[in-house]
Symmetry: C2
Subunit: 205 residues, 2 copies
DNA sequence: TAGGGATATCTAACATAATTAGGATATTAG
DNA sequence: CTAATATCCTAATTATGTTAGATATCCCTA
């Protein structure tokens, strides 16, 4: 206890205020929308002046990037990893998680999965955090015997469409649970049926 | 020719520069992204100073609103109205149109169907222009014998999800045509099968 | 315990944005 | 020809992100 180097003390404190800034940023963004992040207001709520933030973050985009990384970390940590016995149920579980995660925090959803902030693109490191989720989807589909290369894309499209629907029409409601089960079952039925069919007819071009 | 009232002449000219401003706004937005609409630049390209725009539009949001209304008008005018013989083909046609329309102009799509501009919401009048499209979807689904109240929402979700996929992964490509046909067939199969089933089991809560 | 270097924060200023106020100039109407 | 009006301008206001440079605060060493 006594021999904690002062240098670490300082680094600790620095990380603490960095986190405090990020928390305040989330609060502001949740209250007024993702785009409404004012450095002046942000600095004021943490008891600073605006330029002082620049010793913690290089720019406003850097703050968004840190928020992105934080959200992505939350995403991968909350993602269900144990697959239930019924593979179809596993797919449903995944989509329920995804839509539920997004609906729980609209601002976070917009930051992570829609690109709605003018010049902002997440950095490679931040983006890498959430990589691998798509592979998990592919694994669960394979467990259901679905191997069509287009299937992941179609499935993703359904998932994001449902999320959109949920967030724009009925945020906070739970009607989407019914829709998810329907959609996943529909998807599963169709893909298994299609897999049994001959070569699969292709559209001429 | 000679007896055109000067007053009409003026109104005509006024409408012309209004249209010119809107055209320049579209060009700017298509070139640099939907959010990158600068009144100064906009004014410069039409040979004005920024404040002069305010005699044509009340604010920047008013410009976005006019663009929205214009895009919505394009949408309803281009929407296929004659239903083909095969009702399933009618559904496919509608989704193909929708995704194609959106993919043809990403900026217009973002303005109309995603809410990506900070404080902007289309006015009631502008929004009303595109109303009624959903009903048309419902009609075509009814022609297929699909009457489930959730079906329209699920269908819409699939459509927007596909559009998203198309625009973010393969803008300009035509892979989505295959995906659309797949998705619509899948949807149709499932809904008709479901309609034949007994009361339909509901999830307990 | 006094001084020097790093650290944290500040104030002042700049560039750009949308927007408002008020004046100058041309066009129209009586 | 004169008065009104429409059209555009310049100048100023407010708010933004950001930079430059100064000032205080802390920590380690002599």
């Amino acid at each position: 206890m006594l021999d904690i180097p002062k240098r670490d003390r300082r680094a600790e404190r620095r990380a603490a205020t960095r986190a405090e800034i990020l928390d305040a940023a989330w609060a502001q963004v949740r209250a007024n929308g993702l785009a409404a992040l004012s450095l002046r207001d942000l600095a004021r709520t943490v008891g600073m002046q605006a330029p002082s933030l620049y010793s913690y973050f290089d720019s406003k985009h850097a703050i968004y990037d840190a928020m992105y990384a934080q959200g992505a970390r939350q995403f991968v940590e909350a993602e269900p990893s144990d697959q239930p016995g019924d593979p179809l149920e596993g797919l449903k579980q995944l989509v329920r998680f995804y839509v539920g995660f997004c609906a729980a925090d609209a601002a976070r959803y917009l930051l992570l999965f829609q690109r709605t902030i003018p010049g902002f693109e997440p950095s490679a490191e931040s983006f890498a955090i959430s990589e691998g989720s798509l592979e998990r989807v592919g694994q669960r589909m394979a467990a259901c015997g679905i191997t069509d290369p287009d299937a992941v894309d179609l499935f993703t499209a359904i998932g994001t469409g449902l999320t959109d629907q949920q967030l724009s029409n009925d945020p906070g409601g739970d009607r989407w649970i019914r829709l998810i089960d329907d959609a996943v079952e529909m998807f599963h039925d169709y893909m298994t049926k299609k897999a049994k069919q001959p070569p699969a007819r292709r559209r001429a071009r």
